[in-house]
Symmetry: D2
């Protein structure tokens, strides 16, 4: 693990999800910029002190040389370091599970994609919500034509936790609104790429043709990074999409919602109540589908950990993805990546797409909110 040291919540989430099902063990780490603190934290987690490294470069060099060296690294560091650390890991022959955004630019992301392809390595990206069972069900409902032809994709991830300039007092918020560490965007990259990826999972055939983005910095000191943005999208098929993302939706919790409208019906999913999926067929009563129920598609039930009615949470979603990362890593190490061709998980392509989308949104917004082709 790189990053995710003492006090890091996201580090805890990664470790907890990765080790949940026994597919991953934590055996080495470069947890902290302060080597002593990093080592202490690693020891606290039960690691061999010799495998608590002062930095990622040392970790990759030493571990790559060990016969029992790490096979995969989880990167939970600030955004500006994702590219160099991932690149270094891949160059050392180590699989990667990386926080999003993968990089700041599409060019960098494509660079990583090329290296990973060449070395036969897996890069998993932390679109954790996509591991929820009902996302799989949504994808199946679209694939089997229940909704008809897809017309409209409405995405939203709009919380209110940063309605005021909380970064003045909170270091955890501060780096997110500083272009040096956060990259070219705040909420577009930090929040909107989540429902964007979910929409890609549910509607894999939709390709964005052009988009338009309007972004604002309601807390002025955050400029040029936005704390609110709206994106319009047009797809090749004639479908249209919108995405609202915000950190100043005052009083809202997550409000991550995905609604897919087809010619026959719609589905709607809300991440705060992830065990339910609303299915609305025009002319019929709305239906509330529940996780774990026998009426779901068998593939949706594959990840079931506990009976219907019992709530699963984000940890299970994230653990489901780690199981698939493990399968993918194994297949790649066996030289048989084809056997996971149908496995749904956020890989390097999803990482590239997220970066490209943010980059395109920023280009549109900075040109005054105009339509730009999506290439």
């Amino acid at each position: 693990m790189a990053g995710g040291g003492k006090g890091s919540q996201i580090g805890y989430v990664h470790r907890s999800a990765a080790m949940r099902d026994g597919y991953f063990d934590l055996i080495a780490g470069a947890f902290d910029l302060d080597p002593g603190r990093g080592r202490a934290f690693g020891v606290e987690l039960g690691l061999d002190p010799d495998r608590c490294y002062p930095d990622y470069a040392a970790m990759f060099a030493t571990e790559a040389a060990r016969p029992d060296g790490i096979r995969c690294v989880t990167i939970a560091t600030p955004n500006n370091t994702h590219y160099p650390i991932t690149k270094a890991a891949l160059q050392a022959g180590i699989h990667v599970i990386c926080e999003k955004p993968l990089t700041f630019t599409t060019a960098e992301a494509l660079d990583l994609q090329a290296i990973a392809a060449e070395r036969g390595l897996v890069v998993g990206v932390a679109y954790g919500y996509s591991g929820h069972q009902m996302i799989e069900e949504a994808a199946r409902l679209v694939a089997d034509g229940t909704l008809g032809e897809i017309r409209i994709v409405n995405l939203q991830f709009a919380h209110g936790f940063h309605s005021a300039a909380v970064e003045l007092d909170s270091p955890a918020a501060r780096w997110r609104v500083d272009p040096a560490s956060a990259g070219p965007s705040y909420v577009l990259g930090d929040l909107a790429t989540h429902p964007l990826y979910i929409a890609q999972v549910i509607c894999p055939d939709l390709k964005i043709r052009r988009l338009l983005c309007s972004r604002q910095s309601f807390v002025a000191s955050r400029a040029p990074l936005e704390d609110n943005a709206t994106v319009l999208m047009e797809y090749d098929s004639g479908a249209v999409g919108t995405c609202w993302t915000s950190a100043v939706n005052a009083g809202a919790m997550h409000s991550q919602k995905v609604r897919i409208v087809g010619s026959r019906g719609s589905i709607e999913w809300w991440d705060e109540h992830p065990n339910q999926l609303r299915l609305e067929i025009q002319g019929e009563p709305a239906r509330l589908l529940d996780r774990g129920m026998p009426y779901l598609h068998p593939q949706s039930l594959a990840d079931d950990r506990i009976g219907a009615g019992h709530p699963e949470g984000l940890f299970e979603a994230w653990a489901n993805l780690h199981y698939r990362f493990a399968l993918a890593i194994e297949a790649h190490e066996d030289g048989d990546p084809a056997r996971v061709a149908d496995l749904r998980y956020p890989g390097i392509a999803a990482g590239v797409e997220g970066v490209r989308w943010v980059e395109t949104c920023v280009r549109s917004a900075d040109a005054g909110g105009i339509w730009v082709d999506y290439v």
Copy 2:
């Protein structure tokens, strides 16, 4: 009453709301293009057969000449007739309550506004939802600063009843998608102007500076009229807005929702459950406000007809507006319009604004979805 004949649901709603509190009586009508059928219907409603007219021109001429002639006419005819009928009524010295859109063009709407001003007549426009008590409460919460400075206005009116080409079989749907009778838009005018007016009531200080509209005809035969549209708005104050309107949101009922986000908190209202208003202050638990409760502003409680807990519906909202129309008419007839200056009701200015907004949206959409100044 002009229009609203046999089988017209909107005619029933108008009559039921107008007569609910005894402020209006139905004493004359030109209910139908077929004079015989119109007369028969009028008689069925209890009217004097002599006051069941073959057309509106005859009605206005005859009634204007009677000492006990009608003082106000309700116009519930297809869109293309609103302008001439309203104009004729005003010229005959008769107050008007008209279905929206008031006209097809802003120029026509301004023409009506000028005549009404000159003659001292009231023109009420059928933005019926705005009569709900919780809209008043929302306006009070904004006015007293509970939400802080307004940043974001999110509007939605998106049903799915016309997901398929129902107009092939339904005359009631057919005229709505024919530019000759419906005007330059379908859902923008028919649906979106409702939440637009509600937002104006709640946030009277917000002035649109420019907007951008993207519209689609998912049922292709409806082109150039749209069955789906998204509008982005920028206000003078720096606030931004979005509006999604649709008749192809398959499986959805009304989905008319208004969310107003300020620097301190947000409110959200949904027309299908109009007796509730959600108030979310950042850092506090979300609150569900209920109609009729003593914690509301006294002005919000002024319209109360029945104890809290009991649901009121659209008829009460619409009746509340008729009460205000009656007060406004009385004030104008008394030559004292100033005394209703603070009375909240959708008058001619609201009618003009709705037409201007639709016209601007269409101009933007037809130019490829570009930003256009709002003038």
Copy 3:
């Protein structure tokens, strides 16, 4: 109208609902114990001053003697007067629409039933919620076997408005907790009889065999009248039921809910959102049915006043019942009561049943909460 004078909300509801569709006119009244105030109020409502009576006896005597005398009286007075006023009206040959409870004792209620039968008169009882369209749909779903065999009936009407001793300051609350004016119970009669009647409408075949009631006076000064009670019921068929009713369910609005569980599925209805009905079939996703939708039974749609999606409220429910009262009165006056045999409305039998149920509950509670046969 008897009672329902100035400031009476229930009087307003009765008048508004009765006159909504033109089936009733208000032509006479004894509105107030204070004759002058009652007359003034009647005149304000547009009545002939000669037909504003000092008391109900005078009204019945005079009106019965007029060729154009009233044919029906609405009784909206405190509970202790329902019996004598209804009896006097029936003896004068006048149909009655009475607030519940009809009487204090089953013997009195049966007395009224006998007189009404003998005179061929209609007695409608104010179970207003039962006029909601979705109650009709619920009844149809049970009748057509959608739920299978009925097993469980769960009823609830539990608000919190009287959590404190508000009667110290509120005359409107005071008489409800005084046995002299309210009768042998408070919440059992005032609240619980509403869902009880709705359950009878939905499940007409269920007959209570025995019941058990436990009641409390959490505001001690209300004793012996209860402000909270729970009733267990056993039906002849083997089905069981519960009813929770309260005026001290602090913080709750109405919470009137009816859940009917069968061997195959369940329905649930909530009076605060009366346009929806939840249908849950075991092994299938829960369904949300909406008023006005074509998938409802045709009989449920018969009362439709406005398109689906638009909320109807209590006034429409109550007006629907008045339409049926009018049909029933007409049939009885025509000497053909058989033609309304299938018309669903709360008549004298429902009134008797409510009184009997309350009486039985009180008997059980006062004996220590024991099972008593329902006879």
Copy 4:
């Protein structure tokens, strides 16, 4: 671990929760009645084959003799074995985490309590839902007087999964409706004891004085075990309670709900959406409290694993309890049980109480649904 072998969902839940935070390791097991299958399963889980035992007796004997022997055993076997296995474990000096019900009779439960006390051992009982953060918050709101004096406790755990005789085809369901393996009750013990314990956590001062239970076997072959029951409770303080529990609430998922009504306000919690708690103060808007928010009591936030807005599920609740079990075990091993006196977890007293409550309910029901003193 005893029981919880291949295919056991509850076994997976126990292991997953226990090992979540590193406080427990799985090092020995008697997973299956079939020793070979049990050993194979243990090996699959990574256990030393020598510590996969053919039965619990062998496990306790051998492990107790090892210096590195197990310190705690999780018992996830059918109900009829809980007593002997727990007793054997305690006699071998091993702490226990046991599925409920702890035993079939209060006498047996008290026997275990005496042994545990004498040996200074911890017995944790699997009331997993009580580990949700919002239960802690509910307890704090009651403790600090926010609700006023508690008047009413309404409990519910009523699903519909066994509306039909699914036990004919499902072995997992079969033993639950067989008195030999399940004990004297089905839903009272299997479901109702969960909200009962939650109510005890929230309202520790309420002591049941007497209760009355009515139970039914709607699937007749289940008699004498009930698949539906209602319990009325009276507390020493004058408060009253109800509990509805069912496996034939057709179409319902869990429907585990706890509502506590006080003189000033109420709280309501629903296990299917466990991250929210509804707080209703009479005369104020209802509030929706969300897990992880700074406005909660600090003690409620102590268990936080991930930011507010992200859903936690049953696994986190259950893992929270295991953390406390670990603390309790450590304190007892240190000979200092007093230091966990304030730690909230379901211990032996909760286990005894659950058995006593079920026993009393059955006694009441079998006597015809009469009031029986709670002793």
